[in-house]
């Protein structure tokens, strides 16, 4: 269950619209089903009263939307969950938008539910009722099913890295702490496999890729004016993968391009229609960076120097680094 309610957020937004602090509000709007919530822009209290929703399916990270939204006149209000604030800072570090044109209200988050997991519980979902530790799924075909809420969390929320807001103009509710999560456990499991097993694992995962670009389009680190994969002059232009190599190429290069900049928000995996655990690629880079060059959290502070644009004279050699990241050896 989320600690703040829709009403609190609407009241806050109405107050800030009313006193002229902001001109627009970024929020969530109900979709066709209760669980497919989409980001939307509101300018009046009335519109919000009608369509604004907030609850367990409001996972979308608004940070990236600010790149385009701040190009417009006026100031925009955005509600950011702790993990979103890291992306927000990272984008500021990269000068991707003007901080002055955004008003950030930090909101607490108790983890968002994973629609894939919910759908696996029952078919024909009408609504989902959150009772704190447990959720009840009201469905058309399987009736009411009650399950543990924790089991319904996606990996990124189960292994939440931080409940602390690293950027905000004002906070609603209590701020939390950075969490020592088990987010690298999955990566370690893969590292412990044999090369053949790893190859098979990724072959199986990445071969499902349909190159819909959803991961790229949602990624707050992927805000390039023009993506290299869309650019005929880049030498890697590739609109649709023709074979397993190109599937890999796309994901390796994408992960490399966001290495040191990825805040581990997990949006890539959330939006992937093929349910490829893309965050495991990014987390590998994060884990390696932490191990080779010392702990670094992208977005933790504005203006920090990312590990790939930094060095020390005694960094490990590549061969040594690969060896070190290996736990089976």
């Amino acid at each position: 269950m989320q600690a703040v309610t829709r009403e609190i957020l609407i009241n806050k937004a109405a107050e800030l619209l009313g006193n002229g602090t902001v001109d627009r509000v970024f929020g969530w709007k109900k979709g066709e089903f209760s669980y497919d919530v989409t980001p939307a822009l509101f300018t009046t209290r009335e519109a919000m009263d009608a369509d604004f929703v907030f609850g367990d399916f409001c996972g979308a990270n608004f940070s990236k939307y600010l790149v385009a939204e701040t190009r417009k006149e006026g100031k925009v209000l955005v509600f950011l969950k702790p993990c979103d604030t890291y992306s927000f800072n990272q984008l500021l570090t990269e000068h991707r938008f003007d901080r002055e044109k955004v008003y950030v209200v930090g909101i607490p988050c108790s983890g968002m539910l994973d629609t894939v997991k919910i759908k696996a519980v029952a078919e024909g979902i009408a609504s989902v009722e959150d009772n704190g530790d447990r959720v009840t799924v009201h469905s058309l075909f399987d009736g009411d099913v009650t399950v543990s809420r924790n089991d319904m969390l996606p990996d990124r929320c189960k292994n939440c890295k931080s409940k602390k807001h690293v950027a905000y103009d004002e906070l609603i509710g209590e701020d939390g702490e950075v969490i020592d999560s088990g987010r690298f456990d999955e990566v370690e499991k893969l590292e412990k496999m044999t090369p053949d097993e790893r190859f098979a694992f990724w072959q199986n995962e990445l071969s499902r890729c349909i190159r819909c670009n959803a991961c790229r389009d949602v990624c707050p680190a992927c805000t390039c004016e023009k993506c290299v994969f869309d650019n005929p002059d880049s030498g890697v232009e590739n609109k649709a993968a023709a074979n397993s190599f190109e599937e890999k190429m796309f994901h390796i290069i994408r992960a490399f391009h966001v290495a040191g900049r990825c805040t581990d928000c997990g949006e890539c995996s959330r939006v992937c229609p093929q349910h490829i655990p893309l965050h495991l690629l990014n987390r590998k880079f994060i884990k390696d960076i932490n191990e080779f060059y010392g702990d670094y959290q992208a977005g933790a502070e504005v203006g920090s120097r990312a590990p790939l644009v930094n060095y020390t004279a005694d960094d490990p050699e590549p061969a040594e680094a690969v060896e070190r990241s290996h736990h089976d050896a």
């Binding site: 000068h95 390039c224 004016e225 993506c227 880049s234 030498g235 644009v309 930094n310």
Partner: protein
Amino acid sequence: MQRIGVFVCHCGTNIAGTVDVAAVSESLGKEQGVVFSTHYQYMCSQAGQDIIKNAIAEYKLTGIVVCSCSPRMHETTFRKTAAAAGINPYMVEIANIREQCSWVHKDTISGTEKAIILGKAAVAKVNLNAPLTPGETPVTKRALVIGGGIAGIQTALDIADAGFPVDIVEKKPTIGGKMAQLDKTFPTLDCAACILTPKMVDVAQNDKIRIFSYSEVTSVKGFVGNFDVTIKRKARYVKEDVCTGCGACTEKCPQKKVPNEFNLGMDNRRAIYIPFAQAVPKVATIDPDYCMMLKTGKCGVCSKVCTAGAIDYKAKDEYVEEKYGAIVVATGFNPISMDKFDEFAYSQSKDVITSLEFERLTNAAGPTQGKLLRPSDGEHPHTIVFVQCVGSRCDSCSEKGKEYCSKICCMYTAKHAMLTRDKYPDTDVYVFYIDVRTPGKNFDEFYRRAVEEYGVHYIKGMVGKVSPEGKKLMVQASDLIAGKQLHIEADLVVLAAAIEPDKSARPLATMLTASMDTNDFFTEAHPKLRPVESPTAGVFLSGACQGPKDIPETVSQAGAAAAKVIGLLCKDKLTGNPCVAHSDEMMCNGCSTCEKVCPYGAITYVDKEFRMPDRTTRVRRVAQVNEAVCQGCGCCTVACPSGAMDLKGFAGKQIMAEVDAICR
């Protein structure tokens, strides 16, 4: 579409002995874009170059591939050939089929096959080459010399001699530096002032040279040929252009107890002072730490006695901004502090002094008017012990000394010992040495004279402890050759303190982006072949800021640095390396990632208005490469996530074409 000519060189049998050059030529003739292909015995010969020139004319070639030796050998040659025949020199690519093929592969089949592949890669690259023109930047024809010691003076004079204006920035009230404090100079024993002060006067009278004394550089921006420098002129409370240097104020100032730094605190000066008689500029300076008028508002004596009306108690620091084409660093050295070497009792006895203090004690303009007298009681010392290598040649883990040899101490100690014995033959002089290092013209002869003619006692060993007892200094030392521990009752102990770079050097290096070693000496661009240039273009090194040096060496380096500066300022424009980074502004995200990895600070960001494809205008932050500063490493191209940054001559597409050609 390119029209490419391929020229395969036999290099006598160097290439042709292993590689079937005819097959290479034939095979490459079929490559895309190739309209002419041939092979010849020596492509680099005049005849070979004529083949290329003729082919360019006959086949209207737009690009050239030469399969020959390493581009490090003849790339320049063939570029000139191409330019002479009217095509852009950067349309030439070399396939290295000698060093990296025929010389390392014995087998003709695989050697020929590899030569063809290397040729194909070169052809693939040339297909994507574009004519490049080196960028040009104008050169500001003015030099800045930082530091007004003998190094800075000599550099400035030499540059001015060539007709270029020079500014000297000196942090002290006068130029002259350490050399002005010296008495005699080795190995000829001419008086330092006699040879230095005429040069100082030359500087003052040279209309090409401006002296900013009592000034410091506070900011350096820009790049070779175009530096923007801010100089802080510290308030001296005396109008420099009004003061006549008569010295009346310095005699009347009631504040008499200011330690005189020129004499290393061995006597006192007034709060308003002229450091020494031959100071340049010869104007007074008020020391704000001691002036009663400035501190309490009560006094004003100097103002009353100044007939010229030069005193200005309300003066403020002023900032001068100036443009320069070249900067010479001549910040010099200082002896290290003796605080941590109290086994020699430096802080416990006035009669334990450093060699520089000894210079002042023997200098006619010094605190004793050149009579060698003990600082403690003004008596003539009869036994003097010189200790060499105090703080030099220490272990790298030493917390008090330096790892390097300070280089000048052996010679000046020989000089001090010799002069003492010459003037005061009744004095016993001991020199404790670890090694006597005298490589230099007439240097060892000089040292030998000290021993043989002047009877200086050179003892191989070291002083362990100096104990002041009564009027004597009990010196406990070792004589390693005699195998003895010596106990000498000395009247004066002179420490040859190690020298270190001036403390102002480190922040200056940061401003200049010039590199330094761990000892804070400036690093030269190449230790052997470019000893007077810093790795930062347009920044040159003169004197002891680069490493310990004596006067002859300093003056040579000063002249060499001046020659380099003149060579730079002679040019109206600087042509750069055209293989530089450039940013496709339409794709640039403005994220500053490239800026962070650029070792030269060549990338800056600007906000620029753009017409977008949807016909709206948008202000975007975009990277701009300063082509005069970029050295073309390409680090930014990989850092850039959007691929907006690319490197001319080594573009991503070109390198990928080479990869493709090799893997085809």
